[in-house]
């Protein structure tokens, strides 16, 4: 007879791992958290196997006979980065390990963490997308007009991406849209600015404003996972990064080609 407590511990630990993985924690951190949570309740045999698309965990009391082993598999479908939730689950796991919290209380705490609100979309767009894009345009050697252009376009792209994500568009499509809008708006603005005697560096504006979509962190995390020995997780993240980069390139490339063919423009 398998005790219900063991199942509940497993479900709770896996839920904690799921929140972390869905919100951008590294593979090793998720595995580490699951092991800590289970071991703190005296389940000495814990084997988590975490990939970006699913979590598998087996738990037993001792490694001897293993005839009462419990296994739970969870499929992970969408991932984004929300570091606040990662930090909160980390705090929770520290408290859980150090105290005698019962499982029911732990589950309600985890559910509260899962429901934590992110910043409103306006803050996200202006302070997040706009500021990041604008200052990146400056970092890449742009001037003041490029900063303003990237700030405006970066904010608009943030709005579009939040909307498309909330409508559950696949990331591939929403990134094509983002790239196309970035290139299209940058070109459009570059035709307006000469009227007020300002020349706009289209290349810098596009570079700055697609910064919010570009998968730099994803490719670095992929290599990090591979170095740590989580080869499957590393490959999965690398493929994700390549798909995102391709979709942005398709979006931007399409508009740039159209511009060259129809209006004869080019990036100097």
């Amino acid at each position: 007879m398998i005790s219900t407590n063991r199942k509940k511990t497993l479900i709770m630990a896996l839920y904690a791992g799921e929140i972390m993985l869905k919100n951008g924690a590294e593979t090793y951190r998720v595995e580490d958290t699951i092991i800590r949570l289970c071991k703190s309740r005296n389940y000495q045999y814990v084997e988590p196997y975490v990939t970006p698309t699913g979590i598998f965990v087996s738990v037993d009391t001792k490694g001897e006979s293993q005839d009462e082993i419990v296994t739970y598999i969870k499929r992970i479908k969408s991932r984004r980065i929300n570091l606040n939730k990662v930090a909160e689950v980390n705090n929770f796991s520290r408290n859980f390990v150090e105290s005698n919290m019962d499982l029911k209380e732990a589950m309600t705490m985890l559910k509260d963490i899962d429901k934590l609100k992110s910043f409103s979309k306006h803050i996200d767009a202006f302070l997040g997308g706009g500021v990041a894009s604008g200052f990146f345009a400056l970092l890449f050697g742009g001037d003041m007009p490029a900063f303003l252009g990237a700030f405006i376009i970066g904010s608009i792209i943030s709005y579009i991406l939040t909307y498309l994500n909330s409508m559950e568009f696949p990331p591939f499509l929403s990134n094509i849209c983002g790239g196309a809008v970035a290139a299209g708006l940058a070109i459009l603005i570059s035709y307006v600015t000469p009227l007020i005697n300002i020349t706009l560096d289209v290349d810098k504006v596009i570079t700055g404003s697609i910064m919010v979509m570009v998968p730099g962190v994803a490719i670095t995390n992929a290599v990090r996972d591979s170095i740590a020995g989580d080869l499957v997780a590393g490959l999965a993240r690398a493929v994700e990064a390549i798909i995102i980069a391709t979709s942005i390139a398709v979006g931007v490339g399409f508009i740039l080609t159209l511009w060259q063919i129809m209006l004869g423009g080019s990036l100097s």
């Binding site: 570091l83 990662v86 997040g128 706009g130 970092l139 998968p215 962190v217 490719i219 170095i227 391709t246």
Partner: protein
């Protein structure tokens, strides 16, 4: 000198922009911005000395990881919260985008160039992060051993 200060300022603010996008805890904004800004200044500075993107990215990520680890220990937050926004200015996202753009434009030579650079830079950055993280877990192991010795 002025150049470094403006660079620090730009990288600081764009790091904070990304911290907002990544929904980092508000209390960590200033610290991760500091890691990102200092990392970028060191990147620019060592690029002038060694003239190698790889070496500079490696040194800068070492610094970012040490700063992140320091704040992580002081504030008891996971290091992820500081590192992910902090490495954003260094990370080869654009390289990957240019690789794919070159492929879409059927410019395979350029794609190979950009692609190799992306791979090497991301190995340099994550190598630096792994080194600092392992040193920290080594330190923890030693502390744990000492505590066990004392309890005996």
């Amino acid at each position: 000198m002025i150049e470094y200060i403006t660079n620090f300022f730009y990288a600081y603010l764009s790091t904070i922009g990304f911290a907002v996008l990544f929904n980092a805890p508000v209390s960590t904004f200033i610290k991760s911005g500091f890691a990102g800004g200092l990392g970028w200044v060191i990147y620019v500075f060592s690029n002038g000395i060694f003239e190698s993107v790889l070496v500079s990215a490696f040194i800068a990520s070492l610094v970012i990881a040490i700063i992140g680890e320091f704040f992580a220990i002081v504030d008891k937050n996971p290091i992820t919260v500081y590192i992910i926004p902090g490495i954003i200015p260094l990370v080869p996202g654009f390289g990957l985008y240019y690789t794919m753009l070159s492929l879409v434009e059927r410019n395979f030579g350029m794609a190979a160039n950009y692609g190799t650079e992306v791979l090497l830079i991301s190995i340099a950055i994550s190598g630096a992060l792994v080194i600092v993280l392992s040193l920290n877990s080594y330190r923890r192991q030693i502390q744990k051993k000492r505590r066990e010795m004392r309890n005996k």
